[in-house]
Amino acid sequence: MEQLNDAGSSGVITQLGQMLEDALSDNYIFTATTLWHYWEGLVTTVQLVCLALLIGLILAVPLAIMRGSRRRWVKMPVYLYTYVFRGTPLLIQLYLIYYGVVFFDGFDISLGVTSVHVPSIQETWLWDYFRDPFVPALLAFVLNTAAYTTEIFHGAIQSTPKGEMEAARAYGMSRGKMMRRIILPSAFRRALPAYGNEVIFMLHASAICSVVTLLDLTGAARDIYARFYAPFEAFLFVAAIYLCLTFTIIAIFRQLEKRLLAHLKPLS
């Protein structure tokens, strides 16, 4: 009886082992080659999103201050810029920047005796950067995220409590000093949750850059899907990677909020 039991359990184990072995040997999709392909995609996605966010953030601070200016000629151009870039899809901006620039042919303008040559982009040094898809994609993403971040910061600056500004003025601070010491630090803190969302949106929006042949995570998944006709495997795997990236971003922002927004927490 005992023997029989023993044989039964070891039989189950060998059966399970066999199933596992079958599943692994049956896996012709996730080989070293395709995993490397995914890795290259991950590197491109992280590079593109980090660079776009960093440059966008640097641009957004002065733009947000200008956006809140009382002078029309300072305020209006920034308003127009954020209006256009928030009002059109990122995919269209990407197409225009990547494919649009090459449709501009060089031509000559004759001015009486001399003529001025207006070069096409292929004739200029810019082409070194625009030939590859990375820079056009980066440019589109930077312009897009800078527009959204400008509006986020602008809103945060506008909602600075009046009392803080009055106190600053009472100390005799100039406008510049007040901006540096009082308004911006507290505005950044208030903008943090909304900016965290923008970072996550940017990561997810980066999935469209594969339409201009950039090999990002989604591009890698599309290649593998087209090669093995296996949509579930290819896209579920890549979705899992995006999930991990998103959770990392959320964790980072939660830590930041815990530290920087501690003074806003309820006391008990």
């Binding site: 082409w127 030939r131 590859d132 898809p133 339409v211 899907y225 087209a226 090669r227």
Partner: protein, 274 residues
């Protein structure tokens, strides 16, 4: 609870009855009417759109002739090439007729008709490219170059495996976009079905592009056995019907006429009936 049970029962009965109806209809006729065909356009001269928006090309005309033979109607569905086999699996159409090469990897997923065309693949560059006029293009000549292909087709597999490490392979969903990037100089060399490159790049662009290197149709592992019409594995009767129609069109000279019409300009249009 009772209501739930009634609903579940009702749903089950409805589900079963529709199932019964569809299977009996399929048994009654081997060929569905209309026969829905999936195709990726533009892929001239196989399939492309006239300025009026009407579909035409070698495959469209041949497909319509097959439908006429089978006494059914063709209904063409456009689908990007990289999703064309999954689209068949998802029943967006009954068959694929879209320059789909018969190869073992695909035969695992779908059932192919007898081949109706066998084109070689060729390299295309700008007329002023240093690669123009080369006898053969090997790994050395292509090192560091940007090679453009359409994602997921056999040319993609071929250059990815052979030159993926030494050159940069850019994969396009639509042929249009590849042509744009060839034109702007972003892509150094395109690897395409020879008649397609001849038509879409060379003939359509007043000598801007040329065919270079030698035409490639070996090894079989990549280049397979020519273009076939693909259908779901269980559609054995449909395959028989389509093979019969192709045979009849070969016999009455329709296939020859279409070949002459679309590939006369491509010097390389070989004899395609083996």
């Amino acid at each position: 609870m009772k209501q739930f049970a009634t609903r579940a029962l009702l749903g089950l009965t409805l589900g079963l009855s529709t199932f019964a109806i569809t299977t009996s209809a399929a048994q009654a006729a081997d060929v569905p009417d209309p026969l829905r065909l999936g195709i990726d356009v533009p892929y001239a001269p196989f399939g492309y759109k006239l300025p009026s928006g009407e579909l035409t090309g070698f495959e469209i005309e041949l497909g319509n002739a097959i439908c006429a033979q089978l006494a059914t109607h063709c209904e063409w569905t456009e689908q990007d090439f990289d999703g064309i086999i999954p689209g068949l699996m998802a029943r967006k159409y009954d068959v694929i007729m879209s320059a789909l090469t018969i190869n073992p990897e695909r035969e695992r997923q779908v059932l192919f008709s007898e081949p109706y065309f066998t084109p070689p693949s060729g390299w295309f560059v700008k007329a002023d490219s240093p690669l123009a006029g080369a006898d053969t293009l090997d790994a050395e000549a292509l090192a560091g170059k940007v090679i453009g292909v359409q994602r997921g087709n056999l040319q993609d597999h071929y250059v990815t495996d052979l030159y993926g490490r030494t050159a940069e392979v850019r994969r396009y969903t639509k042929l249009d976009d590849l042509v744009l990037d060839m034109d702007s100089g972003r892509v150094d060399v395109a690897f395409l079905d020879l008649p397609v490159g001849q038509d879409t790049l060379v003939n359509a662009n007043d000598g801007n592009f040329v065919n270079t290197g030698s035409a490639i149709s070996e090894p079989k592992k990549y280049f397979g056995d020519g273009f076939g019409i693909a259908m779901k594995k269980r559609d054995r009767d449909l395959k028989k019907a389509i093979d019969g129609a192709l045979e009849a069109l070969k016999a009455d000279g329709t296939l020859k006429r279409l070949n002459d019409k679309y590939f006369a300009s491509a010097a390389t249009a070989s004899d395609n009936h083996q």
